[in-house]
């Protein structure tokens, strides 16, 4: 049953792309059930600012306990919104040279049935944090249909760390916008 999920997800993405006004950019980013390495350059070039769909990007790592706790919510949101033109992407900031960590990340994604695009940032991890302009994870970045970054949800402010409800509200807000 689970083996069908990636194909269903692919179908949904293609359908969503077909319904959007600028389908080519979305179609270029195919769903990947595994954990695909991606350089920051490739990430910027292909993924950030893809137009036509609301894009939710979850930055996480197997070493990040709160990331693992939040992840099931991302999977649930994907289930809820996958037919509403919302694209989900996860980016792992695990140590690319730590085989044990990569294996843990892969098996976690499998256990979570994370049937969306799952990437491993293929960079020195300190460089990755700086290039991505992230101070810590978990962090969720949400892009509007126009490809612009609309929400950067982080834990940087101890008095305003983001919650699952913040993610829900952001998606609903963007879905409510016309165009």
């Amino acid at each position: 049953m689970n083996q069908r999920i990636p194909y269903l997800a692919a179908l949904v993405f293609l359908l969503a792309a077909g319904c959007s006004r600028q389908p080519r950019d979305i179609a270029a980013a195919k769903p990947a059930p595994g954990l695909q390495p991606i350089t920051f350059e490739a990430w910027q070039g292909k993924l950030v600012g893809a137009r036509g769909a609301i894009t939710v990007v979850d930055f996480w790592a197997s070493w990040c306990a709160p990331c693992l706790e939040r992840f099931p919510h991302m999977v649930a949101l994907h289930e809820r919104y996958k037919e509403s033109g919302v694209r989900f992407v996860s980016v792992s900031l695990d140590d690319r040279d730590d085989k044990g960590a990569i294996e843990q990340a892969r098996s976690f994604l499998a256990r979570q049935n994370a049937a969306f695009e799952n990437y491993l940032m293929d960079e020195n991890i300190t460089d990755a944090f700086q290039k991505l302009d992230l101070l810590s994870i978990p962090a969720v970045l949400i892009y509007g249909r126009d490809g612009r970054l609309r929400y950067k949800l982080t834990g940087d402010d101890p008095n305003r760390q983001f919650t699952n409800e913040d993610v829900d509200r952001a998606i609903e807000t963007l879905l409510g916008e016309t165009g």
Binding site: G100, D156, D157, P158, Q161
Partner: protein, 217 residues
């Protein structure tokens, strides 16, 4: 033409002044709560792994280093041996190192802290900030994250221990992400306060695990 230039400059200056006024006074580059020069928050009766309690009024040394730690965090595990060595290097000097755990998860709480401190041979006071007030008042959001205070208990440095954030890999080895450390920010700040050298970096970009704060919303 010159009049336009003058008004444009004046307008830009006015806008910049308004923007500057709108920015929180204490926001630093990587810290949303405090900036360099901020006073050390008062704290009282934090329980330590040594069975004692610690208040800010107990700290009599000229230099105080607060190190925000978390047992579970591989970035802390990658750094703690360097921290232990640093504390040893300053043995007998007028400086006090205090580790602080803020997370409320069981594996970061006091009982687990006692186990970790004993296993690793922590040679510094290690206290539990269960109310999270100290961490919150300092804007500490990552572990490990270091804050160095002078004799007047003003903040002179915050951020990384050194320039090569290190994590413990799943096989137990330490990965220094930028190679062998070359710049020792905390050590340099403490030395400067003890009269040797200057502080070249007042704030660096901390990297590690997130500290989770209870949200009142």
């Amino acid at each position: 033409m010159m009049r336009h230039g003058f008004f444009r400059t004046a307008s830009a200056g006015l806008i910049l002044s308004v923007l500057a006024a709108a920015v929180p006074m204490f926001a630093a580059k990587y810290n949303t709560i405090v900036d360099i020069g901020a006073p050390m928050p008062q704290f009282s009766n934090l329980p330590g792994t040594d069975g004692k309690i610690l208040s800010s009024s107990d700290l009599k040394e000229s230099v105080v280093v607060l190190a925000f730690l978390a047992n579970h965090c591989p970035w802390v595990r990658g750094t703690e041996q360097d921290l232990i060595k640093l504390v040893n290097d300053f043995r007998g000097k007028d400086v006090r190192f205090v580790g602080v755990s803020v997370n409320r998860r069981a594996d970061d709480a006091l009982e687990a802290m006692k186990v970790r401190a004993a296993q690793l041979g922590y040679n510094f006071t290690y206290v539990y900030d269960e109310s999270q007030e100290l961490g919150r008042k300092l804007g500490a959001t990552r572990t490990p994250e270091f804050f160095v205070f002078n004799k007047e208990r003003r903040l002179v440095y915050m951020g990384l221990l050194h320039n090569s954030p290190a994590s413990m890999r799943t096989d137990g080895t330490i990965n220094y992400t930028k190679g062998a450390p070359m710049e020792f920010y905390v050590k340099d700040a403490v030395n400067a306060l003890l009269g040797e050298g200057q502080i070249a970096n007042e704030e660096t970009r901390p990297q590690g695990c997130s500290i989770e704060y209870a949200q009142s919303r």
